[in-house]
Symmetry: C2
Subunit: 226 residues, 2 copies
DNA sequence: ACCTGAACACCGTTCAAGT
DNA sequence: ACCTGAACACCGTTCAAGT
């Protein structure tokens, strides 16, 4: 029960090493022993900075989220809610591309971290400015971040395809009676996908959902900042 | 390089043991050694049935997906595309609640399994029947299954909240200047969430997206089955 | 044909000790 | 105050052997 005292000074150094390791050799290669070796320490030294491995992984999540929550709404430009929402969404996806092997951690973990709260807050603010009724803000935020996170994770972990076996071969190998719609669609499924465009289109559709939720509330959306 | 011969007979038995173990003690407890012990075998015996641990986990994904792809469109009732799409979505979420500790595997893994293809095919078929243009079917399917999977995973792994620390305390502990929208929303964030209702509302919004995509295509949707 | 046993190179973590 | 060393109870997997 004795709550060990956690030191802070070398945490950034340790997390950088963990992130480097994760991107170079995969998340599975992030072991206490490997991270320690990376910066010339004994595994046990890490326990001065992190309670256990879980805490180190939470730290990694925080490291990623900090890059996302950093900018905040630019103080000068009076950007509207759409721009701010789009910026957060694109920022999250860009983060996934920058750290493809580590990013999926964000979906694995509850992340009740302060950094996560700041990102969510920015989305709440955008939805409020759009005129979404208070009672629907949280649900819409969850819908949007589920899409953004889920899309970005699926892209980088290969769930969306481009696996070792091409779609075409898999489809042709399969019994047409088992997957009739695949056969009806035929070659359109083989066309290369423009992921940027698909993500933007999904976002556009979600913006429409937000607008409808805002419109159904009452008359006019809240004014922008003065 | 010599491709080992993989036996089939006891695979279901092994996968059942792995699933049981995963639900009882968590996905991390699914080790080759623990699964083997569960059915009275030596760890090495499993390698007769699965190439390696990855293959065993893929088998687990297949086990879950089979429950989802099982029913197919009931042969009698001429259900419309909405009902079939909703049935698949609700089925996926129900699966998450039935196997909460194992379900997140579905988002981790590419899953180019035949079972996954059958589920996707059912969604393609529903979207085609709705009148969605061929070129947009795959993107809409990805948007829908990203929402469904992401929502269900977030629900069962705790990403949506209900963590050890209540939202209220976290919000009040945070600096109001750091998370202003949380403070503006105040107590509405503390209201208990009806996850069933929120999921259904999200689905409803996605059905509207589908309808708009279908409407923008051309005149009339495809007819139901004769 | 199916399974076991011993061995190898790894894990996370505790505890006591070093400087 | 910060770190190390030895030890414990685990991993996945290879290889050779048993029946």
């Amino acid at each position: 029960m004795a709550v060990r005292k956690i030191r802070q000074e070398r945490r950034p150094e340790i997390l950088d090493a963990a992130l480097r390791l994760s991107e170079e050799r995969g998340l599975a290669a992030v072991s206490m022993r490997a991270v320690a070796a990376e910066i010339g320490l004994t595994p046990m030294a890490l326990y001065g900075y992190f309670e256990d491995k879980e805490a180190l992984l939470d730290g990694l999540v925080g490291r990623l989220l900090r890059e996302l929550s950093q900018p905040g709404p630019r103080p000068g430009a009076a950007s509207d809610w759409r721009d701010r929402l789009l910026a957060r969404a694109r920022g999250a996806r860009a983060l996934a591309h920058r750290y493809p092997r580590t990013f999926p951690l964000l979906l694995d973990r509850p992340a009740e971290l302060p950094e996560a709260m700041r990102v969510v807050d920015a989305l709440y603010a955008a939805l409020l400015d759009a005129g979404v009724p208070d009672g629907q803000v949280a649900a819409l935020e969850r819908m949007i971040s589920t899409f953004v996170l889920g899309f970005a994770v699926s892209e980088v972990n290969g769930r969306f395809g481009e696996g070792n076996l091409g779609t075409r071969e898999r489809r042709e190998r399969a019994d047409p009676r088992e997957v009739p719609a695949h056969h009806r669609l035929g070659e359109v499924l083989d066309r290369p996908v423009d992921w940027d465009a698909e993500f933007e289109e999904g976002l556009g559709r979600l913006l429409e959902v937000v607008e409808r939720a805002a419109g159904a509330g009452e008359g006019s959306p809240r004014p922008g900042r003065p």
